[in-house]
Amino acid sequence: MREEIEESDLLRFVEGDCSPDEAAAIQAWIAADPRRGELLHELRAVWRLTGPTTRPWGVAGARIRLLHSRGRHAAQRSAGFSARPGLSRGGIAAAIACLVAGTGVWLLRPRAAPVREFATPAGQRLQLTLPDSSRVLLSVGTRLRVPRDFGLRARAVELDGEAYFVVRHDPRRPFVVRTRQGVTEDLGTSFDVRAYAQEDYVQVVVASGRVSLRAGGADSGLSLRSRDRGLIDARGVLTATSGVALGDYLAWTRGTLVFHDAPLRDVVAQLGRWYDVDIEVGAAPWAGERLTISFATSSVDEALATLAQVLDAHWTRSGRMVRLTPLHRQG
C-alpha cells in the first residue's frame, strides 16, 4: 500500500485502476477532507462529460467468465474451452481476460445447461480455440453458439455475424456451421462465413481445403474450393464465384476493412460495427453509391475522414453518433 496519497491518485480511483486495498486507502483519504470529496465529484463529472464510460469494461469477457462460473456452479467442473483476446491490431480492443482451459479434459454428460455462447460487441474481436483445437476468430458484432456436447458425436456451431474458421478435419465428425440461411460443412479447411442477421445473405469464402454449402433445409448444395466464394441470397438461391481475391475477404482478420464496389449502406453498417459508432447518412446524394475503399486505421476519426473524403462529404462525430453531410450542393 502507498504511504502518501496525492490528488492525482484520485484519477486512478475514478477509473477504478486500484487494487481493493489501494481503493480503501484512497477512500479513507477522501473521507478525511470534504474538499477532496468535492474534487472527486468534479473529476467524475469531467469523466462523464468526456466519454460514454469511465473505462473499457470488456463485456464479452465478463460474459464468458460468467458462463464459465455458471457452468462450474451447475456441474462442478470446468470444460476444455479457451478464449484468447482478440488481436489488438487495427484498434480492436482485446475484450477478454485470458481464461484457463481447465484440465483440458472434455467431460461429457452436461446437465440441462444452455449452449455456450460467445459474443463480441461492436468494435471487438475474439479468438477462440474449440475443444477439438479448431480455431475461430469472431469478427465484430458476432455471436457463436457452441453446444455443450460439441465434439462428442458431431461438431456443429451456430453463427450470427462473421467468423473465420480454421478447422481440423475429421471425417467421422464433420464440422458444421449453421446460419440463419445456410449450412456450411467443412471437409478440412480454413474458411470465412459471413451471416449477419441484419444482412439478407450468407457468404462463405474458402481460404484452403474444401467446404460444402447448402441452403437451410436443402439436402444438397455447392462444393467450394480454395478461392471460391459461395453466396446464398435472400431467396435461398446459391451461387459461386471462383478465383476471388482472398486478401480482401479475409482482411478483417488482420485488422483491415476492405470494400470492393460495395453499396454505401454495407460500408456504413460494417464501419459501425467495426468502430462501434452509429453513422447517419440520411438522404444525401451519394446514398446509392458503390464504393471501393479500405480502412487500416485504429482511429475512428481517421476512418471517417477517409470515408468523407471519398464521398466529398463533411463529417461530425459526437460520441457514438456520426453524421455525414454533403460538403457542397451539387448542381
Binding site: P20, R44, R48, L49, T50, G51, L66, H73, P114, R178
Partner: protein, 198 residues
C-alpha cells in the same frame, strides 16, 4: 461431392435476437443491457474495477442460480440497481472501509436512465466539451484523447508516443485539471445524472 449427414440436422430457423430486444433469455438480455451500467455504478462505491466486476458478476450469477435463467421478474433495472448497491455496501463494510466513506456512498442515488431531455442537454454540452478538449496543449490533448477515446492503457500510450509512463500520468492529470476548470459551469448542471448523485 457432398458429405451428407447420417443424423438429420435441424436448420437454424430462428434468428438470434439483438441484445437489447426482450427475449426468452431474460438473463442474457439483462446482462447485455445492464452489465456496463452496473459496473459503473458499483465502481463509484468501491473504486476498484476489479472489485466492481466481481461484485456485478456475482450478482448475475446468484440471480441466475436462484431464479433460473427464465425468470425475468427480477431482471429489471430498478431491482438490479438496488441489489448491486446492497452488495457494494456490504463489500465496503466487510473490507472495513472507513465509515465516513460508506456513509457518503450510501447517499449516492441510483442514476436515472437517460430521458430525451438528458440526451438533448448532453448534445448541447458536447460542443463545449469538444472545444475544451481542442484547446488543451497538443501533447496533453493527444494523451487525453488516446486514453478517453481510444481507451488505450497508460503503458500503451507511453509506448505509442515514445514518452515515459510518468509523463503520461502527469499529462493526464494536467489535462483533467484544465478540463475541470474549463467545464466548471457544466459540472454542477442539473440533468446530468452524475450531479444528482451527491
Amino acid at each position: 461431392m457432398l458429405n451428407s449427414h447420417r443424423t438429420s440436422l435441424p436448420t437454424l430457423q430462428h434468428r438470434v435476437p439483438p441484445a437489447t430486444q426482450a427475449s426468452p433469455h431474460g438473463w442474457e438480455s439483462a446482462f447485455q443491457a445492464y452489465y456496463i451500467e452496473l459496473c459503473e455504478y458499483v465502481l463509484r462505491f468501491v473504486g476498484s474495477a476489479e472489485a466492481a466486476q466481481d461484485l456485478v458478476q456475482d450478482l448475475f450469477l446468484r440471480l441466475w442460480d436462484s431464479r433460473g435463467p427464465r425468470d425475468e421478474t427480477r431482471l429489471t433495472r430498478p431491482y438490479l440497481y438496488v441489489a448491486a448497491r446492497n452488495r457494494a455496501l456490504k463489500y465496503l463494510r466487510h473490507r472495513r472501509v472507513v465509515t465516513a466513506w460508506i456513509a457518503r456512498a450510501a447517499c449516492d442515488e441510483t442514476p436515472p436512465s437517460d430521458t430525451p431531455e438528458d440526451l438533448c442537454l448532453r448534445g448541447e454540452l458536447d460542443a463545449a466539451v469538444q472545444r475544451a478538449i481542442a484547446e488543451l496543449p497538443p501533447r496533453c490533448r493527444a494523451i487525453f484523447v488516446l486514453r478517453r477515446r481510444e481507451q488505450l492503457s497508460y503503458r500503451e500510450i507511453a509506448a505509442r508516443l515514445g514518452v515515459s509512463l510518468g509523463t503520461v500520468k502527469s499529462q493526464m492529470w494536467r489535462a483533467t485539471l484544465r478540463l475541470r476548470a474549463k467545464l466548471a459551469p457544466y459540472l454542477a448542471r442539473p440533468g446530468i445524472p452524475e450531479d444528482r448523485a451527491g
